[in-house]
């Protein structure tokens, strides 16, 4: 049996994972996104990155979010977007900070504990999904994708993250499948298991691949020729990241001075759209009416946003009234305008950096690709396909590659591909694209 690689994309909103054989010729049939989410509601390939500390239990994933929203009145929230913690300047210290009261009213856990708990849950979900797919062997090289933080030291970050995964693995061995129960795990049990797992833990042998490199891997796979330079724009839920990669001697290098991260992405657009819709609903006067409408809009948001991106407008029926929001309305918003302007400036800088480097090399050609759930946003697509003034042209690449339409997926991988792109690319990338760590 050939060696396989599994890549975890631990996103701010969703965790994803995919596996692929490392040494076979590329075949779409061997690309295996993992079904991490067994619940009938929600996409089976997306696991909500969330932890909720309840009165006597700890809940994960969708159950955590559902429980949190049922207790919203009590000022209790689920821990989400904890991935952004990894960008902290002093990561070890940030991990030791106690979780805020709104997240952990017991004051029992620090951020490290909650992240380790979530990772144990994620590893358990991965193991269940892997075992259900007989194509994927039990022994598998493990990788995770992370953004390359500005000025960050990949080796230092990797040492911390491999440590966290090591503890999570030890915790998973202790708690077993109980981690996957809808009702979560017993809080006291978790509190006693955590320090024991920390004692037993050994750092997990795994590789770190930068998210942009993973995007480059899927973009070029199966092609005879691909550009020497690739600009990657990744709009997820919590952040929008841009990076420029350069290919030389079958290796990818990042041109670090192009890299930039914005804290505005899908969540930011959600708020803008809901806000705009609320403003147009002049009949919603009381706070109660507004809160109820806001909640309804947020629940419908994935569909509204998809309609908005595809058709330029979205409508919602609410208590026999019609609410309309158009992309034009959003584009007129001051916050959006400011964001777009920064985005354009950052992208222009990426193009300039790529061009500057391309001029130094023979046969250089520049490509651009958008990944992440927001890849289809018209303003993102306009950005990467925008006419450029001088120098080598920038060729836009599709967010969903041709092979994702392969018959083996029955036409159903393509619609979710942009969100799975990093996990899939991370699994397909050769070892020499790793930023730290390596095969087990």
């Amino acid at each position: 049996m050939s060696a396989w690689t599994l890549c975890i994309d631990f996103g701010t909103a969703f965790s994803k994972a995919a596996a692929a054989p490392s040494d076979l010729r590329f075949d779409p049939a061997n690309v295996r996104p993992l079904q991490l989410n067994p619940q009938p509601s929600g996409n089976p390939f997306l696991l909500d990155s969330a932890v909720f500390v309840d009165d006597a239990r700890i809940l994960f994933g969708r159950s955590a979010l559902d429980r949190a929203s049922s207790m919203a009145g009590r000022k209790r929230v689920a821990l989400q977007s904890f991935k952004t913690l990894l960008s902290a300047a002093d990561l070890e210290r940030a991990l030791d900070i106690k979780a805020p009261l709104s997240i952990d009213p017991h004051r029992a856990f620090c951020m490290r504990d909650l992240i380790v708990l979530y990772l144990a849950y994620l590893l358990a979900a991965i193991e269940r999904a892997r075992a259900a797919d007989a194509c994927i062997p039990a022994r598998i090289n493990l990788r995770y994708a992370a953004p390359a933080w500005q000025g960050g030291d990949s080796d230092a970050l990797h040492a911390v993250v491999a440590g966290l995964f090591g503890e999570a693995e030890a915790l998973r061995m202790r708690l077993g499948d109980a981690l996957l129960a809808d009702e979560g795990i017993d809080l006291a049990l978790a509190a006693t298991a955590l320090p024991r797992a920390a004692d037993e833990a050994r750092p997990r042998a795994m590789g770190l691949i930068h998210e942009a490199a993973a995007a480059a891997a899927y973009t070029s796979i199966g092609l005879d020729e691909s550009g020497s330079h690739l600009i990657v724009v990744d709009m997820g839920a919590g952040t929008t990241d841009m990076a420029v990669l350069m290919r030389a001697d079958h290796q990818m290098h990042e041109l670090a001075d192009a890299r930039v991260t914005f804290n505005q992405a899908g969540d930011f657009l959600d708020r803008l759209i809901a806000d705009r819709a609320l403003k147009s609903a002049s009949w919603a006067k009381s706070t109660a009416q507004k809160t109820a409408l806001w909640g309804d809009l947020m629940r419908a948001m994935p569909d509204l946003k998809a309609a908005m991106f595809a058709e330029g407008r979205a409508s919602r029926r609410y208590e026999r009234r019609l609410i309309n929001v158009s992309l034009r309305d959003i584009e007129r918003d001051q916050d959006f305008k400011a964001f777009l302007k920064e985005l354009q400036a950052a992208y222009a800088h990426c193009v300039a950096v790529a061009r500057g480097d391309a001029l130094l090399r023979e046969n250089a050609s520049i490509e651009a690709v958008a990944v992440g759930g927001g890849a289809g946003a018209p303003f993102i697509q306009e950005l990467i396909s925008g006419a450029t003034k001088r120098g080598p042209r920038v060729t836009p690449r599709p967010a969903t590659p041709g092979w994702a339409h392969s018959e083996v997926f029955g036409g159903n991988l393509a619609p979710v591909f942009p969100q799975l792109a990093i996990a899939i690319g991370g699994a397909l990338a050769p070892d020499n694209m790793l930023a730290a760590g390596g095969a087990a």
């Binding site: 067994p38 996409n43 089976p44 083996v408 036409g411 159903n412």
Partner: protein
């Protein structure tokens, strides 16, 4: 769904014994395709249900405003259904294109067509054309 997963597992376990490798692998490959399809269909079904309800709203609308609202939501729900199934549209409404029998139905009453105008967009999934675009003979003067 859990029941289905279990049965897939059992098949694999029994196939592990001596059956050929090709057989062993066929089931899980199909199961990934099934899972993808189930997920896409579940979402598509919801959108389709929404479309059916709006169709009723459209047919029972008491005034033009209600009718328009229902039509807007019906169109949105149908487009959503299509997206969830990975369907894309072929061509742009009203655009004039070189006639391509793979993608265009020939315009009615035209003996031979070199160039056509898209009257209703076709539908594709990936490279596969599910329904060709309906066309008209191009307008004499500049279109639109």
């Amino acid at each position: 769904m859990p029941a289905k997963k279990k049965s897939v597992k059992r098949t694999n376990a029994s196939a592990m014994g001596k059956k050929g490798a090709a057989r062993k692998r066929a089931a899980p490959k199909a199961s990934l395709a099934n899972a993808l399809a189930e997920a896409a269909w579940a979402d598509a079904d919801k959108a389709l249900a929404e479309a059916l309800i709006e169709l009723d709203e459209f047919e029972n609308a008491r005034n033009e405003k209600a009718r328009e609202a229902a039509l807007t939501l019906l169109a949105q729900a149908l487009a959503q259904t299509a997206r969830k199934r990975g369907l894309t549209r072929i061509g742009m409404l009203g655009a004039q294109e070189a006639f391509d029998p793979q993608r265009h139905e020939p315009p009615p009453r035209a003996k031979s067509a070199k160039s056509v105008r898209i009257a209703a967009r076709g539908v594709a999934r990936g490279a596969e054309v599910l329904a060709r675009a309906r066309t008209e003979a191009p307008r004499r003067r500049s279109p639109r």
